[in-house]
Structures are given as C-alpha cells and as structure tokens.
Amino acid sequence: MNKNSEDIVLMKGNEAIAHAAIRCGCDGYFGYPITPQSEIIETLALEKPWETTGMVVLQAESELASINMVYGGGATGKRVMTSSSSPGVALMQEGITYMAGAEIPGVIVNVQRGGPGLGTIQPSQGDYNQSTRGGGNGDYNVIVLAPASVQEMADFVDLAFTLSFRYRNPAIILSDGVIGQMMERVVLPPFKPRRTEEQIKAECPWAALGRTKDRPRNVLTSLELDPGKQEEVNLRLQRKYAEIKAREVRYEEYLTEDAEYLIVAFGSAARIAQKSIEDCRRQGIKVGLLRPITLWPFPTERIKQLAEQVKHILAVEINAGQMVNDIRLAVEGRTPVSHYGRMGGILPTPDDINNQINTLL
C-alpha cells in the first residue's frame, strides 16, 4: 500500500486545476482572483509555467477582460482558460455567449459560492441553471462537467479542453467551494507538451492564424445580420448540440441495481449524499445514487430508465431546486420527484439527507 512518497500528493481541488492545466498543454490562463478559487491563480503564479512549458498566466483587470482574452486565444486555436466564482462568472456570460455563437473553444472553471448578488463566499450549487441553460443571450449550450473529487478537478481540465475543441464550443467545469478548498490524494496527469503552431494549423483549420496563400481567410464572429443566414447558424448549432447530447453524456452510479429510492446529486452534494446512502443501507433502506458528471448534456435517458424501477427520486442540491427540473423532465411523471437543498453557504449534512429519505418511506 505504501508507495514511493514522491508519487503521493495531497492537494486542494483548486491547486489540482492549476497543476492539471500546466500538464495538459494549456497555452494560457487569464483570471481575476475571487474566493473560493484564488488558489488556482496563486498556484499558477508559484509554478511559473511560462518558464517551463511557455504557458501564459495573466491576472486580467476584470472578469470581462479574462473571458475576452479567452475568446481571443481560443479563436487562434490555443488551449486557453479562465476561472472564477459565481459573481465573476455572471460577469463573463456575455463573452461565453459570443464564444458559443462564434464557435470558439475555451474552458471556464466556476468554483461556485452562494448568491444571488455578491452573496457569500461559502459553497453553493446555485449556478446550475445558469450553466446548463447557456447563461447568456440566445439559443446555445455549453458543455458542463461537474467534478466531485480533487482527482476529477485534475482529470476534467484535459477532458474539458478535448470536448471543447472537438465541438468548437465553450466548456465549463462547474465545481464549488467544497471541492475547490478540500484536500485529497491526487494523481496528477502526465505532462503533455503544448501543441506546436503546425499542429494547431492541422487540427484547427478554422482558427484565425493569419492569411496564407494556401487557404482562405478565417472569420470568427457571432454577428450575422441576414436573418436567413443567422437561422442557418442557429440550425447548425442545434445539430451540434444534438450530437453532443447523443455522444457525451457521462454519469456514475452507486448501488442503483436494487435501489427502491434514488438520489440524484452532483459535485459535493453527491459526496454528502453517498454517505447518507451508506447509513440508509445499514438501516436496510435500499437507496442508490445517480451522479451526473455532465450536467449538460444531462443523463436524461438513464434517469428515465431508473424512474421505472424506483418508488421515489430525491434531488439533493446545494440550491433551491434547479437540477430537479431536469429530473422531472426526464421522469415525465413516472415516479414522484422531490428536492432537498440548503442555501446561503450552508451545506446539507449526511443526517439531513437521511432524514429526508426517512420521510419518503
């Protein structure tokens, strides 16, 4: 069990994001500090990747500047990212919808805190609707990954970039203050070099890399004044979103095989719910957990199947009830669905969830 001590690292989720970014060939990070995610930019500043991989790390003057730097970097085919917490990500929504409209890849990390407004610096999952519905203006979706451990914080950086470039669409890592601040064992991904200019040219024929003789000029814009053409853009985007929904749904199940009651929870709420399930099982109550890993696309089909099997579905979220609506859409009345959540930076405890389950029996 005891491995070489050099292989063992204990770190915060926020620190894992920074290390994973450097290791997965990220070309640039642009951000503005905000609790509870400032360790991301702090770790990058300590690691000085500009001296090793050549990755740019820049503290922008605001979140608006950060997201527009991501827009610019992504438009040239670079793997660029930003991170913030809820009020800061609210500011970024304009940039994100412009990226979605112009089909520019990029990664946005949101380590959520409680709202609305300036709210609290304590953990929350109140930005579910904002993330899964687009968040800005117009008909668009962003790919949303919800890590539930420090390991997933590390692993999802590369995954987010991969999906973002595969579909030329922004991707959000939707974390929260618990996963950002907690420390766990993590195995960092192996170093992957940044792509060369030649590789970017080959992989991103759409990128704005300057006009050359051998190819036409690339224009990346979300503006199209001709309604007919703009509808074409929208239809193409909708086809892309349908493809993402068909191919990229990710989730994890825990003790669902014989479950009579199902909890659906993501991120830190899923971790807390899992403990309450351990307790319920000891009392002989057959509870299982479905943890969506992609919040968009949502695991609608699997929840629909499980709705045929279970007596009740409980959504546990650290908000007033947001994902519960997606569950209801999946279930279509096949089984009762209810919600349990806390707000304002208060976390549900395993006992709270256990009590909720007991009221359903």
Binding site: M1, N2, K3, S5, I8, L10, T35, P36, I121, Q122, G177, V178, Q181, M182, M183, E184, R185, S268, R271, I272, A273, Q274, K275, S276, I277, E278, L347, T349, P350, D351, D352
Partner: protein
C-alpha cells in the same frame, strides 16, 4: 479503520496546518484521507476548524455532522462541537482558556496543556505540534516515520531544518497527554 476528526480553535493557532500534517502522515501510511477546512475571513483571533477523515476505504462525504474525535483548542469550539462527538468517541482539549469544561460522560476525555508546554519550551509555534502529539498518542501511533515524511511534505524546504524541533514538540505532547476519566 475509519476515523472522523474535527480540529477546532482560534485562527492562527495552526489548526489547519496540524490537520494537514495529520492527513499527510495518514496518506504516507497508504490510507485514504480528506481535509476540509472552514474557509473565509478567519484570521488570527477568529475561529477556524478542519475536518480530517482517515480511512482504509474510499471516503464519501468530506462534510460531517458527527465525529469520532474532536480536538478542541478554545471555548467557542468546545461549545460548538462537544455535542457532535459520537457516543464512545474521544475529546482532547487544552484547558488553557476553557472556563466551562466539557460535561459529557459517554466519551473519553483527555487534556493536553499545550499552551503551557509551548511557553515552557519558549516556542509558541510548537503549540499545534504538541497537540498533534497528544492526538497521535491516543491513536497509538508511536511510529513517527510517516509524521516526519508529512512534515517534509508540508513545510517549505527552507524550513526543513525545523523538522527535528517539530518532532520534539510532538514527543512532548505524547508524554504530556492525560486522561481525565482516570
């Protein structure tokens, strides 16, 4: 093996660092750990706490409402966490500054005069390591190899010359811890 621990006291007492050394030592031993701090405007003078879970199996919730062990270093933390200790669990506290001592009779209670010992050692910074020593003694972890590795991992290299002094403080804590029930 699974231990659910809360360490709580004033900000600036080294509560979070102590939890980190404890978590790292368990990790070095090959166990699973989670370390979940209270975070926010806590600074010197405010209250701070950290939940450390050590287990042979994967850990689900890093957030708990009851604990096997509570390490309590000030009065507000005692008031907040005494009732959160599981029956049969353990409370370790430094009586320094405690006006209203614990009243539970269904748990094991230990005291560690860490504040006084640190003053005696003329090293206020040894305080949290003395408390850690008390905790390790109760856990029956006489072998400090992993703790030494954990200190090397958590302290910046320029402070590695302080590791022997930290180990000495831990040993003092191991000797000084007292059972209140006996």
């Amino acid at each position: 093996m699974k231990k659910e621990i809360i360490i709580a006291g004033f900000g600036g007492q080294g509560v979070l660092s102590m939890g980190k050394v404890l978590a790292y030592a368990a990790l070095m031993e090959g166990r699973e750990v989670t370390w979940m701090p209270s975070y926010g405007p806590e600074q010197r003078g405010g209250t701070a706490n950290v939940t450390v879970i050590i287990s042979d199996e994967a850990i689900s919730s890093p957030i708990l409402n009851t604990f096997d062990v509570a390490v309590i270093l000030n009065q507000p933390s005692l008031e907040r966490f005494e009732q959160a200790i599981k029956p049969g669990g353990t409370l370790i506290y430094d009586p320094y500054g405690i006006c209203v001592p614990p009243t539970r009779t269904d748990i094991s209670i230990y005291t560690i005069d860490a504040m006084d010992l640190a003053a005696e050692m003329k090293n206020a910074k040894a305080f949290n390591m003395i408390v850690l020593g008390a905790l390790l003694r109760i856990f029956d972890s006489g072998n400090l190899t992993y703790v030494e590795q954990a200190l090397a991992k958590t302290l910046p290299e320029r402070h590695h010359h302080l590791i022997p002094a930290n180990i000495e403080a831990i040993r003092r804590g191991m000797q000084a811890v007292q059972s209140q029930s006996s």
